[in-house]
Amino acid sequence: MEQMFFFYFAFVIAAAAVFVVAVRNPIYSALALLITLFHVAGLYVTLHAEFLAAVQVIVYAGAILVLYLFVVMLLNLRQDIRYHRQWPMAAVVGATLVIETAILTAMKGWTAPVVAPGTETIVGGTGNTEAIGDVLFSTYLFPFEVASLILLVAMIGAIILAKKDLGEPAES
């Protein structure tokens, strides 16, 4: 049963990812990415990461994708631009990654890594959100604050960059 769900999610994620890259119209591309993100959220649920599934839907599908669609529609793009002439480069990089994956898949006999004793936190059990919050506000408190700083900087940067008369002195 679990495997059936995994194969469904994996197939849709992979197919929609190919659509994102291959489709001509940027709006269809963004919508294919939306399908991918929803199925990644489903995959998180099967992995018992329910909090992340909710965050994935809210942040990625709710905020990021809407921003993309907003910009695509704001710019009112023509559809005449498509592929680069970088096929050799892409083929080399792609072949390298494929060979690496094949080697790693074919490599038998690797020992399963073990958790360092005393550091494991139970993912399920009392509640996924509770476990994440517990770790986030104790062990990872400083990175959490830095993340808020990153968001602040990104917000200011976006406002400055998208302002109309950049670099020109205000005349009034």
């Binding site: 994102v20 992340l52 990104a154």
Partner: protein, 101 residues
């Protein structure tokens, strides 16, 4: 019947590869950013799969931070795209070859 870890790694590898090829082949800057999102999601799948495998919640915390960085990247990236479009009225990446104009 549970799913082995290697299946998740393989799926993540496929999605990452698709993202890399999208970045290298497409000329539309918006699609390139969407491909970057694909790559970020591939790494996130990896993180969550390992988090479940080790029964350790730290992987999910890292996905949380990756989401934060993705949101920041989208905000700044789209602002840059809008600024570029104002300057050149195109978002074909071949047109942007100068550092200053």
């Amino acid at each position: 019947m549970t799913v082995p870890l290697s299946y998740y790694l393989l799926l993540s590898g496929i999605v990452f590869l698709t993202g890399v090829i999208g970045v290298l082949l497409r000329r539309n800057i918006i699609i390139i950013l969407l491909s970057v999102e694909l790559m970020l999601n591939a790494t996130n799948i990896n993180f969550v799969a390992f988090s479940q495998y080790f029964q350790h919640v730290a992987g999910q915390v890292f996905v949380f931070f990756a989401l934060t960085v993705a949101a920041a990247e989208v905000a700044v990236g789209l602002a840059i795209i809008i600024a570029l479009y104002r300057a050149k009225s195109t978002i074909n990446i071949d047109e942007f070859q100068l550092l200053k104009w």
